[in-house]
């Protein structure tokens, strides 16, 4: 590993438990790079996760880290940030953790526009439990609980986040690691709820069952199916079929929850003094 990144990791914990070719490792690295590059104080940075393969990431990262319970990372993070708004709070979560069991905290954290940097590792599956479909598993895909193909529809999570109130939303992939890093940095700089959907891959539980080839093939797929929003704007709709957008999808500053709360405290203080 690049020497200057090593202080961001708990090097002695590596190699991580993830399977060969799991996209999560690539994304975790992008997060570390973004934190490094953003220049925020590492001693004042907290990383929170739920439960899942992705949610194991904080254990490898050299910060105050909290591996909570399934789906509740954002609620823990809300407590941390509100209790001490000085802290930079990151949330690492999976598609299951964030959008299935954790869906409610997701929309509410977005609504409050609380200053959290959420990186959602989307591998379209519950990896940790061996490959059940998630709310982000595409319709028709196979999973251990959709042996005949998934009959449910899937969320588009940026759309949902924007509708719920997130002020910054972007999407990167494990393949587009530089873009991913830049989006995370932009999220850090956004004072408010930032969601970065990071398209990952789970060769073990999603790729194999859906005949998508090995890890390298899945990465290749990200390359070919993704299209940058800016490029997409110039293309006719038919060229976008089967593609998904990456890049900055939404950037609309809005009042941030902990700042608003601090304003209230200041106001009451002032009133009390008078």
């Amino acid at each position: 590993m690049r020497p200057d990144l090593q202080e961001l990791f708990r090097m002695e914990k590596l190699p991580h438990i993830w399977c060969p070719g799991c996209g999560h490792g690539i994304i975790m690295r992008a997060i570390a790079e973004a934190i490094k590059e953003s220049g925020i104080d590492m001693d004042k940075t907290v990383i929170v996760s739920g439960i899942g393969c992705s949610s194991r990431a904080p254990g490898y990262m050299n910060f105050d880290t909290c591996h909570t319970i399934h789906g509740r990372a954002l609620a823990f993070a809300t407590g941390i940030k509100l209790a001490n708004p000085e802290l930079n709070v990151f949330v690492i979560t999976g598609d299951g953790d964030a959008t299935a069991i954790g869906g409610n905290h997701f929309i509410h954290a977005a609504r409050r526009n609380i200053d959290l940097n959420v990186i959602l590792f989307n591998n379209n599956i519950y990896g940790m439990t061996g490959g059940q479909y998630s709310p982000l598993t595409p319709t028709g895909s196979k999973a251990t609980t959709s042996p005949y193909g998934n009959v449910e529809r899937n969320f588009d999570i940026p759309t949902l986040a924007i509708a719920a109130g997130a002020s910054y939303v972007g999407r990167g992939t494990a393949y587009h690691d530089k873009l991913l890093k830049d989006l995370i940095i932009a999220g850090i700089n956004n004072k408010g709820f930032s969601l970065i959907e990071a398209i990952s891959m789970c060769p073990t539980s999603f790729g194999r069952r859906n005949k998508l080839g090995n890890a390298a093939k899945m990465l290749e797929l990200q390359k070919t199916a993704a299209i940058n929003v800016k490029a997409a704007q110039k293309l006719p709709p038919e060229k976008l079929e089967g593609k998904f957008l990456i890049g900055e999808l939404h950037n609309k500053p809005a009042p941030e929850f902990t700042e608003e709360y601090d304003k209230l405290i200041a106001k009451l203080r002032k009133e009390a003094e008078q």
Binding site: D43, K44, V48, R72, H108
Partner: protein, 378 residues
């Protein structure tokens, strides 16, 4: 020393004031009758002192939220009632496992399920002990007066901080909603306990290492200690392990850490027990009826006493066993179908006769009912 004025306040309000007096600066909750006043008061008072109140989207989020806040070093509180407490169970188990100080007020209403939102009950006694999955340490305190709502909330915060465990304050609707004359203690007279902060430098810090105190030191997030918290079994460093020996070491410590402090944790009241032939075991508002019954029966020359566990969990087993050995019978009046009774029976069965007086229909157990029961047993 100034003496505070007598005031008329509600049990729920006393809880809120006790929490603030104990240093709580963070509250997350979700409204539910009959606990809502606590949240309402916190929403008004906390921002005045620079503290934080947040109404979360549900009770699960509320519980998770206070645990997050506690990790930053704040003293934290949530309050709810039956349905909400049921929802909090998973996160309460996490607090036990990760040893995150927190206090949960449960103003008990009549269950099961939605039941009777404004009806009084003592039906969540066993849930407080066993609600979450797996073995875990827990403390539960049970006030019988408005004043005690204040005092025991202070104690609950102190216990949570000192022993790094979730602590319940179990009110019943009567205690939570009634107003009573109280004289609250002065700030200077309130004992405040803070969690042990690290005595080592960040590099040497092992977040779950303990000395003979069995209680690990806890660093505030954001102070450079960079530690890891997990609900998985973990070793001294805080990182997950599945090694049976390490799992056992962790669990043995968790399951015995409160034992070590029994003398401090176990609180109870004894009234007229010295020469008692019949012992009433009662807690919460029911203990007030029991006390009334004891006074009246004593006037009638009947030798009856009251054992009131204030700490319900862990249960003051030895104290009760000692008394039970000298009486003919023990009677347990409860506003449920016999919950603490099971514990009392287990403790006393080989020592004396035990019987229960159970009522869970939204009405309190009256002194007369207890008197009748005593006469029946005698």
């Amino acid at each position: 020393m100034t003496v505070n004025k007598a005031r008329l306040i509600q049990g729920n309000q006393a809880c809120a004031e006790g929490a603030i007096a104990a240093g709580v600066t963070f509250f997350a909750g979700y409204p539910i009758t009959p606990s809502t006043e606590i949240a309402e008061i916190m929403s008004e008072e906390l921002p005045k002192i620079g503290g934080k109140f947040i109404q979360m989207e549900d009770e699960i989020g509320s519980m998770a939220c206070i645990l997050g806040a506690s990790l930053t070093g704040k003293k934290v509180l949530t309050a709810s009632s039956g349905p909400g407490i049921s929802l909090k169970q998973e996160a309460i188990g996490y607090a036990s496992m990760a040893e995150i100080p927190c206090v949960i007020v449960n103003v008990q209403r009549l269950g099961p399920s939605t039941g009777g939102p404004t009806s009084t009950a003592q039906g969540d006694i066993m849930q407080a002990r066993w609600g979450t999955h797996g073995d875990h340490p827990i403390i539960a305190l049970c006030p019988a007066t408005v004043k005690e709502c204040f005092d025991l909330t202070v104690k609950a915060v102190n216990f949570a901080e000192k022993f790094r465990t979730p602590v319940y304050v179990l009110l019943d609707e009567i205690i939570g909603h009634m107003r009573e004359k109280v004289i609250l203690p002065n700030k200077e007279d309130i004992e405040i306990v803070d969690r042990k902060r690290p005595s080592t430098k960040p590099g040497d810090y092992k977040p779950y290492r303990t000395d003979e105190s069995l209680i690990p030191e806890m660093a505030d997030y954001g102070t450079g200690y960079k530690w890891h918290v997990t609900g998985l079994h973990h070793d001294e460093t805080g990182f997950p392990t599945t090694k049976p020996a390490l799992v056992e070491k962790l669990m043995n410590r968790l399951m015995s850490k409160l034992d070590k402090y029994k003398e401090e944790i176990l609180l109870w009241q004894e009234e007229s027990t010295d020469d008692a032939e019949v012992l009433i075991v009662a807690y919460g508002s029911t203990a007030r009826s029991a006390l009334d019954a004891v006074e009246k029966l004593r006037e009638a020359g009947i030798k009856v006493g009251l054992f009131r566990p204030i700490t319900i969990w862990p249960f003051p087993e030895e104290a009760l066993a000692r008394l039970a050995a000298n009486v003919k019978g023990v009677i347990v009046p409860e506003m449920n179908y016999g919950q603490l009774y099971l514990e009392v029976e287990r403790i006393c069965k080989d020592k004396c006769k035990t019987s229960g007086l159970f009522k869970a229909n939204s009405e309190p157990i009256t002194p007369d009912e207890i008197i009748a029961k005593v006469r029946e047993v005698l």
